[in-house]
């Protein structure tokens, strides 16, 4: 089958298991983000794909062929390193031409390729520059161009944008996405920035502590997190535990909430995004889906207003826009509304 497949891949460093048994399929042509907190094994996974790290167990298949034992230099994958790893002794053009030159491509063909690639990353006429004279964003583009020089089957990037400042990062995210759509190369990007993943990816792989938690498109990851880790790691959320008290009903401290897909019995945890919680002044009517609370404090961040609420002893955060801001202040009694479709039932992490 076409695409990249992990079959029960495991990676240990000595006693320490960096990647627990993982099976995963990445369809051809997709833009995938590996997302997770620091140290969760993202880089390790990416390096195994590139062959820079040998898998302890399991197989990696590309388009049906086992590539697990093929050495890096025969895999023909393009990779962009976190620190970019531009060759300091070569010019921009020589860097980009490097993979061609070592394959014996003729000088004129190299020149043509360099020109084409520099146009692609919007850096025309830079071929002669020493790389030390480039700005961060320009270096970035050169590293990308170099990785693409061989028209790789797979395009791997390890936190490619983390060194850039916020503004530049955003524009590079969009460019990278457009580039990938134009070329149609299967692309895997490691990041620990969830915003970045949400912006770029067709498919997000959420990892923590060497395990894959969820693989899904970004909006689904946000709207339907599989477990508490994902819910909490992607955006911020309120986790509310309760006990099933009837079909579609959940008894929580302070009242009852409504939710779809609730199991028949048992204890479950809900995730409710702060921006989906509605707060109104005055103590609530205590109908299902609405709890009484008190305002702890309110923070105005300019673009949004954060309301920290205490509901039956539990901390709940709600966010609203300045225009929708209810007329409340710290200490006020409020009613807190949890819309049914905003209450997501979580599985075990």
């Amino acid at each position: 089958m076409s695409g990249l497949v992990f079959e029960s891949i495991v990676k240990k460093f000595g006693e320490f298991t960096a990647v627990h048994e993982t099976s995963l399929t990445i369809p051809q042509g997709k833009f995938v983000c590996l997302l997770g907190p620091s140290g969760c094994g993202k880089t390790t996974l990416l390096r195994m794909i590139a062959g820079l790290e040998a898998a302890t167990a399991g197989r990696i298949l590309l388009d049906g062929d086992d590539v697990t034992r093929i050495p890096t230099h025969k895999r023909d994958f393009g990779m962009v390193f976190q620190n970019l790893a531009l060759f300091p002794h070569l010019t921009v053009g020589e860097n980009i031409a490097y993979p061609l030159r070592i394959r014996g491509v003729s000088k004129s063909d190299c020149l043509a390729a360099v020109k084409r690639l520099l146009d692609l990353v919007q850096l025309p006429d830079m071929a002669g520059r020493p790389v030390s004279k480039l700005s961060g964003g320009q270096k970035q583009r050169v590293a990308i161009a170099r990785a693409l020089a061989l028209e790789p089957k797979l395009f791997l990037l390890d936190e490619p944008l983390s060194a850039l400042d916020a503004k530049l990062r955003e524009s590079m995210q969009i460019e990278l996405k457009q580039l990938q759509q134009k070329l149609g190369i299967t692309t895997i990007v490691v990041t620990h920035d969830q915003r970045e993943a949400m912006t770029m990816a067709d498919l997000v792989v959420v990892m923590s502590q060497g395990k894959v938690h969820q693989v899904a498109p970004p909006v689904e990851i946000y709207r339907k997190p599989k477990d508490a880790f994902v819910a909490d790691f992607i955006g911020s959320t309120n986790l509310i535990s309760g006990r099933i008290s009837g079909s579609g009903k959940l008894a929580v401290p302070g009242g009852t909430l409504l939710a779809d897909d609730l199991p028949a019995t048992g204890d479950v945890t809900l995730s409710v995004r702060p921006e989906n919680i509605r707060v109104t002044a005055g103590s609530g009517d205590n109908t299902p889906g609405c709890l009484a609370g008190e305002v702890s404090y309110i923070r105005d961040l300019g673009a949004s207003i954060e309301m920290y609420l205490s509901v039956a002893g539990q901390q709940i955060t709600a966010i609203t826009t300045p225009s929708d801001r209810p007329d409340i202040a710290a200490g006020d009694a409020v009613s807190v509304h949890f819309p049914k479709d905003a209450c997501v039932v979580l599985g075990d992490a």
Binding site: T72, M79, N83, H89, Y98, P99, R146
Partner: protein, 268 residues
């Protein structure tokens, strides 16, 4: 401020301390008479001319330079694969070879010298000019080994990995990435070995002193009938060579970095 004054004083004192014997040697080299008087009596550049006009000094100079070139090249040729191996591979036993590479510099030189003397006579090559090149090459292998180890440490792993993802095998990486990056370290290791070989006496003497008279041997032999100012002028010439060699290295490379300096902000 008082602090900067003390600082200057300290630096000045060190500079004076380091320069004083050089001043004596330089002064002596201008003596008019064949004597090592200081302060010099009269002024003459004859002793400089003599380095080149007098056969024995000239050939000693050329011998020294030849031996130093050969020995420093050999030292690099031996140190490079060793440093590369230590950097590239994970093999604890290779540390033993590393220690062997560091040891020649640590032993009392006279012992190394006598060891070579026995060795070359036993091997039947005693008296061949090339034996001193090997002897010095091994004796000074420590220097390029140290600079190359520093150099390899400074090569960013990800450069090598990046090259591998682009299809370069070990050999290609060595040729296209590592060699160019490590070149300054090769040069500085070689320069160290070169300069020290130029001035080494006892090993050169024991290995092949009677066939190849190097400058230090020539100087020592001259002690029989009095220091001649040529010794001083040769020394001044040597110091000048060292200044030029290291000055060139500093001009075309980053000398502090070659000597192990390194700051986070260096990359930019």
């Amino acid at each position: 401020m008082i602090n900067t004054f003390i600082l200057r004083l300290f630096l000045g004192a060190i500079a004076l301390f380091m320069a004083a014997p050089l001043a004596v040697v330089a002064g002596v080299s201008f003596n008019e008479r064949k004597s090592l008087s200081f302060p010099p009596e009269g002024f003459s550049l004859d002793w400089y001319a003599q380095i080149f006009t007098e056969d024995s000094w000239r050939s000693a100079l050329f011998n020294s330079v030849g031996v130093a070139v050969g020995a420093s090249s050999l030292a690099v040729v031996v140190a490079f694969p060793l440093a590369w191996f230590l950097w590239r591979f994970h093999a604890p036993w290779a540390r033993i070879v590393q220690v062997l590479g560091l040891a020649p510099f640590i032993l009392p030189p006279v012992i190394t010298a006598l060891g070579f003397l026995s060795f070359w006579t036993t091997a039947g090559s005693y008296g061949q000019a090339w034996t001193v090149v090997i002897s010095h090459g091994i004796f000074f292998v420590t220097l390029p080994l140290v600079t190359l180890t520093l150099g390899f440490e400074a090569v960013d792993d990800s450069l090598v990995e990046a090259a591998a993802t682009m299809g370069a095998d070990d050999r290609t990486i060595l040729r296209t990435i590592i060699l160019p990056l490590i070149l300054p370290y090769i040069i500085s290791g070689m320069a160290f070995a070169f300069v020290l070989s130029l001035n080494e006496y006892i090993v050169a003497y024991m290995a092949v002193g009677f066939t190849v008279e190097t400058l230090p041997i020539k100087i020592f032999n001259s002690l029989r009938y009095g220091y001649t100012p040529t010794m001083a002028s040769v020394t001044v010439l040597f110091v000048a060579i060292a200044v030029v060699v290291f000055g060139l290295i500093a001009r075309f490379g980053d000398l502090p970095r070659l000597l192990g300096a390194w700051r986070h902000d260096d990359d930019s």
